[in-house]
């Protein structure tokens, strides 16, 4: 029987494994593209990075999309998708403004909490329909995309929230920086770190991956699939709600077009960042870098002198390239694993 014990499985040293993992990681690749974009644009126009506004915008502009992409990633990992986040963002942004109009003197942290809670509630509706109604998330959230937007339109009418409606302390958050880093971006980073930590180290986080990897197997494992999917949608909604409050602080005005189309940017950021659209793999770190890349490219292209039409095409090409690369790499990875198995059998 001793002849069946073949080789020590992990002959590679831990350092080799870590380095190898890093080299193959999608996060590093996308990050490199991001750095490249920033460097090339800065060479063309040094103000892109080195003016005080340039540095701030580089960090501040993606903060909204960052929040949405993190939430979206959690949902996509479970093999679902949430298309309603743009509408949730718009609705909570308007709700935030209304709170200040109706209750002047309300502490800012209460408003943040209320906006997040409102988003969570809207996410709960999505999650409940998906988890218990057994209807594909694509259909459900496409429906709520229109419903939430509709509620927003009928509530706001032609009304809009202006900077004057909101306290200056709140609006100052939009420009305030700590150690040259904008506060809103710090909020995004804190959320990113918390969610990233949870997904990697908590049982609940790993179960989200398991559910997305094979939903049927997850049921046979006895995992609480419904509650997990439900909570993923609640988290996604809550982050979209938080993004709504951030939107109000950053732009100062909220009209009925707020957040329009952002759900697809969020999906795009996640996909570019290596989150598999069929669930089960990808990280929020990747999605965050994807969000930065998406926003930064949009800002960089006019600087380099590329017309508006091509800007969209570039983003589209980026998404397709990301997916094609995924296919190529995963096919190669699979071949490598099969070959490794062959080797093991031979030895």
């Amino acid at each position: 029987m001793s002849d069946t014990l073949l080789v020590e499985p992990s002959a590679v040293s831990p350092t080799q494994r870590v380095v190898g993992g890093l080299l193959r990681s999608r996060e590093i690749a996308v990050g490199a593209v991001l750095v490249l974009v920033v460097v090339l644009t800065t060479i063309k126009n040094p103000n892109f990075l080195f003016s005080s506004d340039g540095w701030r915008d580089l960090l501040l502009s993606p903060s909204l999309l960052l929040l949405l992409a993190v939430g979206q990633t959690v949902v996509i990992i479970t093999r679902n998708v949430d298309l309603s986040v743009g509408s949730i963002l718009g609705l909570t942004a308007y709700f935030t403004g209304k709170l200040f109009v109706d209750h002047p003197g309300l502490p800012i942290w209460v408003v943040f909490l209320a906006g997040t809670a409102m988003g969570a509630l809207l996410g709960l509706v999505n999650g409940a329909l998906v988890a218990f109604g057994k209807v594909p998330a694509l259909v459900i959230t496409l429906g709520t995309l229109y419903i939430y937007r509709g509620i927003f339109l009928s509530w706001a009418g032609s009304d809009r929230i202006n900077a004057g409606d909101m306290p200056s302390d709140f609006l100052a958050l939009g420009t305030k920086t700590i150690l040259t880093i904008p506060v809103l971006t710090i909020i995004g980073f804190v959320v990113l770190a918390a969610v990233g930590y949870y997904l990697y180290t908590a049982r609940g986080g790993r179960e989200l991956y398991a559910i997305g990897s094979d939903p049927d197997a997850a049921v046979l494992y006895g995992l609480p699939t419904r509650t997990r999917v439900l909570s993923a949608f609640v988290l996604c909604g809550a982050l979209a709600g938080l993004a709504g409050v951030v939107y109000a602080a950053r732009y100062g005005t909220v009209s009925s077009g707020a957040g329009y189309g952002m759900e697809l940017q969020a999906v795009g950021a996640a996909v570019i960042g290596g989150v598999a659209i069929f669930g089960g793999s990808g990280t929020v770190w990747g999605a965050a870098i994807g969000a930065f890349l998406l926003v930064t490219i949009n800002r960089a292209l006019p600087v380099v002198g590329i017309s508006d039409f091509w800007q969209r095409a570039v983003v589209g090409a980026l998404i397709i390239a990301a997916i094609v690369l995924d296919r190529v790499f995963s096919a190669r990875e699979e071949r490598r694993l099969v070959a490794a198995r062959d080797e093991m059998r031979k030895s």
Binding site: M1, D3, T4, L5, L6, V7, E8, P9, S10, R17, T201, A202, R203, R206, E207, Y209, A210, G212, S213, D214, D216, A217, A218, V219, L220, Y221, G222, L223, P224, A276, G280, S281, E333, E334, L337, V338, A339, A340, R341, D342, M344, R345, K346
Partner: protein
């Protein structure tokens, strides 16, 4: 309490809509015993297992665990009560590491409820050592062979430390050595006082491992005997309710012209310089160990996978590489090994499945109606005696044997000249096995050329006119029906294999 059996099921019934899956299932397993559960496909074994596992809820009957009445509404509840189940089909998360697959939902936690990955990997490595396999605990489950996946399932079930362990055909994909390892572990679990239920179609394994055997037929309990007091013949006759017919009724067919000609086929890392022919009316058996590259050769011939060098010709005309559609047009039909994944749209109706590959010829003005599909499927399903109440029934609800027939019907509807069939009777019960064999024999009699891959030596020797033995991607022997003896095939199959392995021999006859 201590005297009560670990698991008691009495007169348990379960129906899915109008289909009665289990009429009156009974099973009583003592602690410290390995109990075999045998029966034809569709006898209700898997349904019984799923009731114990909490996947299904029973409609009626008694269900006790260690003397207490239980009623599981979910797999989580059954797990918590100490029941572990190895399902027939592996259920793994492809994107996650094999270790995470084993410990999902109950990972060891360190400080601050963080998952303790180091402890988890160490424990996984211990499990693999106990099972005597070398699998990197950090690799993803993606890309594992079915045998390796089965090993992961077993590791998972063992690590649950369950008092009742149910194994639904755990050995179907394992090689001889791996089966031995599994049995050693099963025996040590038995000696620790756990109750094990072992479901298998291989009677030699049942007699080697188990102490008690319960037979089921058509959703009913038939009998329970001590292994020492019974025999294969007695069990088989109880399973089928009649005397078993000849298991391998191969009739001699007139062997005609060369249909398939494979010349110098090579694919890096999988097979090398493979050349052979198949004539009309001839059944050629591809024998060898699991993982020798037989399925890969078949897939390359049919064009599912590509190959590096060599050529495939049908009746003298070359068939384009890597194009299944061209292969179908050239008259090749391919029934793959993994029915559920590759051969069958399990959510679709029987008729739709059968009609799937000939859809083109069925459409009227580009439209395909259910009626057309039923019309085309009817004769084939009837001929193969597919047991289904209606052609509209979805394939997922059928037993393995009937699913195999649906896959066969689907391909026969294309009127092929060559049928490639991979493990035609894997996971199929004795009665249906004979039917499948008779069917293959009939088809050969009608002039069809058949290339049959099988890991069951008696099947190869009984059915094939000619046996090709594959070892590590090369054809190491070509034996005529008269030359082919178990010893010769074995010798060729292990010609240059360094570690021991053996074909699964079945004691059914």
């Amino acid at each position: 309490m201590t005297d009560s059996p670990a698991l008691v099921l009495r007169d348990v019934a379960k129906s899915f809509g109008a289909v009665v899956a289990l009429r009156s299932g009974s099973l009583e397993v003592e602690p410290g015993s390995i109990h075999a559960l045998v029966g034809e496909n569709g006898a209700g074994k898997s349904t019984l297992v799923k009731i114990v596992a909490g996947v299904h809820r029973r409609d009626a009957g008694t269900f006790q665990l260690h003397g207490t009445d239980v009623d599981f509404g979910s797999t989580a509840e059954s797990k918590a009560a100490g029941v572990a189940v190895i399902y027939q089909e592996p259920t793994l998360f492809p994107d996650l590491s094999v270790t995470e697959n084993i410990f999902m939902g109950r990972q060891p936690l360190g400080r601050g409820r963080r998952i303790d990955r180091a402890a988890m990997y160490a424990e996984a490595e211990q499990l693999f050592n106990r099972l005597g396999v070398a699998i990197d605990p950090r690799r993803p489950a993606k890309g594992l062979s079915i045998a390796d996946q089965q090993i992961i399932e077993i590791a998972k079930a063992i690590s649950l430390d369950a008092s009742v362990l149910i194994m639904d055909e755990p050995t179907a994909a394992l090689s001889g050595v791996e089966v031995e390892r599994l049995f050693a572990v099963a025996r040590s679990l038995r000696d620790e006082g756990r109750a094990l239920v072992f479901i298998s179609h291989r009677f030699d394994e049942v007699f080697e491992l188990c102490d008690t055997v319960t037979v089921m037929r058509d959703g009913d309990y038939v009998s329970t005997d001590a292994i020492a007091d019974t025999s294969v013949d007695r069990i088989v006759s109880r399973m089928v309710g009649r005397e078993v017919a000849e298991l391998f009724p191969k009739t001699t067919a007139e062997i005609g012209d060369v249909v398939l000609e494979v010349d110098g086929l090579s694919s890096l890392g999988t097979f090398h310089d493979v050349s052979f022919t198949v004539r009309s009316g001839e059944i050629v058996g591809l024998a060898g160990l699991v993982g020798a590259g037989r399925s890969e050769i078949a897939r390359a011939v049919f064009g599912v996978d590509t190959y590096d060098t060599g050529s495939v010709r049908m009746s003298g005309k070359s068939v384009a590489a890597h194009k299944p559609r061209a292969a179908i047009r050239a008259g090749i039909a391919f029934v793959p090994e993994d029915r559920r994944k590759q051969g069958l749209v399990t959510d679709a109706s029987v008729a739709r499945n059968v009609a799937a590959v000939i859809r083109r010829g069925l459409t009227h003005a580009g439209l395909l109606t259910n009626r057309d599909e039923n019309r085309a499927a009817g004769p084939w399903a009837g001929r193969l005696e597919v047991k289904t109440s209606a052609l509209d029934m979805t394939a997922a609800t059928m037993s393995g044997g009937n699913q195999q027939k649906v896959v066969l019907a689907k391909w026969l509807a294309t009127e092929p000249r060559l049928l490639i069939i991979d493990e035609p009777t894997r996971g199929i019960d004795v009665g249906t096995k004979a039917e499948v064999h008779r069917l293959l024999s009939d088809l050969a009699g009608q002039g069809l050329a058949i290339l049959m891959i099988s890991s069951e030596l008696p099947e190869v020797l009984g059915m094939a006119d000619r046996v090709l033995v594959v070892c590590e991607g090369r054809i190491t022997a070509e034996l005529s029906r008269d030359e082919a003896t178990p010893e010769r095939v074995m010798h060729a199959a292990t010609a240059n294999v360094t570690h021991t392995g053996e074909l699964h021999q079945e004691a059914t006859a």
